[in-house]
């Protein structure tokens, strides 16, 4: 079951869902609009290696906007800290943003119960696109879960700002 907008607003008020900052005008009938934070990361090397930490460069978005290029992957973040210890969050782009050809997540919309932090966005445009800090870029929705809850304790807990892939950490853990 997917939470309705009024249920999301009520959950944000009584703590079943944590959204900070929370603005009532960003509530939709079944989701909450999230904003693009000011910082992007982009991998520096031409080839990204799944088994190694990859060097990144930091881009601060200027007020006049910044043009994203189709041949690059940008890791952005939500302005909001979001999480729930009860509901399963799913983060997608907004249709207005999809219509501009911008992927906001790549094949990983589902979050974990118990994760709290700024969500990393995986920004990849189909054609060059100018984006702006603070623009409403995505939508988070919440699903009722079934079964006993076991909270997230993973490697991205309490994320602040965009997080580069830490697949390599799992690799090290498995190898040792």
């Amino acid at each position: 079951m997917i939470l309705t907008g009024p249920e999301i607003a009520e959950s944000a008020a009584d703590g079943r869902v944590a959204i900070s900052p929370f603005r009532p005008d960003q509530v939709n009938p079944n989701s909450y609009n999230v904003r693009l934070g000011p910082t992007l990361l982009s991998y520096r090397d031409e080839i990204v290696d799944a088994y190694r930490p990859n060097p990144t460069e930091t881009i601060e978005l200027p007020e006049e906007g910044y043009v994203l290029r189709p041949d690059r992957l940008y890791l952005g973040h939500t302005e909001e800290r979001i999480g729930s210890d009860i509901y399963v969050p799913l983060l997608f782009g907004r249709s207005s943003v999809g219509r501009l050809g911008l992927f906001v997540e790549i094949t990983a919309p589902i979050g974990d119960i118990g994760f709290h932090g700024q969500w990393t966005l995986m920004l990849s445009p189909v054609q060059p696109l100018r984006v702006y800090p603070g623009m409403k870029i995505g939508q988070i929705m919440f699903f009722v879960s079934s079964g006993e809850i076991d909270l997230y304790e993973g490697k991205y807990q309490s994320a602040a700002g965009p997080q580069a892939s830490r697949y390599w950490r799992d690799r090290v853990a498995v190898a040792s």
Binding site: I2, T4, P29, S95, V97, G98, L100, G101, M135
Partner: protein, 174 residues
């Protein structure tokens, strides 16, 4: 919770879901198998979230149109769907995914109250020929939890789209 074929059929009969045109054989075990419409829009310039971008409209000929990688194609579903009770999610099907076609760009949700021919955000991994009114994907219906709000009553963008809608994000950023 996702509605099954029988539940969708029941909701159609009771008016809680509208699919127009509706073909009973397009109901699959937990979805409706929708079709690609007849037109697409393409953009020749750099896009800007804060501006309306000029576009070219293409009509899909019966012999099909080859979509190229590196371009964004805004398409439309042949069907209009509406529910004031259930949320909707649109996706491609395995056959379309197997051809390397994305049917939306990370925005699958239709809110409760959406009454639309869905605008599709199509992108391809390699050149592929597509045809008007071919089966293109699945729409699922989700049970909502909590008091309902309707997309219609919010008076927001795209409430009653009958064709392709380009992004109107610039209205927010103006």
């Amino acid at each position: 919770m996702i509605l099954t074929r029988k539940a969708i059929r029941k909701a159609l009969a009771g008016g809680d879901i509208v699919i127009d045109p509706f073909e009973p054989e397009r109901l699959s075990p937990n979805a409706y198998d929708w079709r690609l419409g007849d037109t697409m829009r393409v953009f020749d310039e750099e896009l800007d979230a804060a501006r309306s971008t000029p576009f070219t409209e293409l009509v899909l000929p019966p012999e099909g149109l080859v979509l190229e990688p590196g371009r964004l194609y805004l398409g439309v579903t042949y069907e209009r769907t509406h529910s004031e009770r259930y949320a909707q999610m649109i996706n491609g099907d395995h056959t379309i995914g197997g051809l390397g076609i994305w049917v939306h760009v990370s925005a699958p949700l239709g809110h409760v109250g959406h009454a639309i021919n869905w605008t599709l955000e199509i992108r391809v991994a390699r050149p592929v020929r597509v045809y008007p009114r071919m089966t293109f994907g699945k729409i699922v219906f989700l049970v909502a939890h909590g008091p309902l709000a309707s997309y219609q009553s919010d008076g927001v963008k795209y409430t009653s789209t009958a064709g392709i809608d380009i992004s109107r994000l610039y209205e927010e950023l103006a």
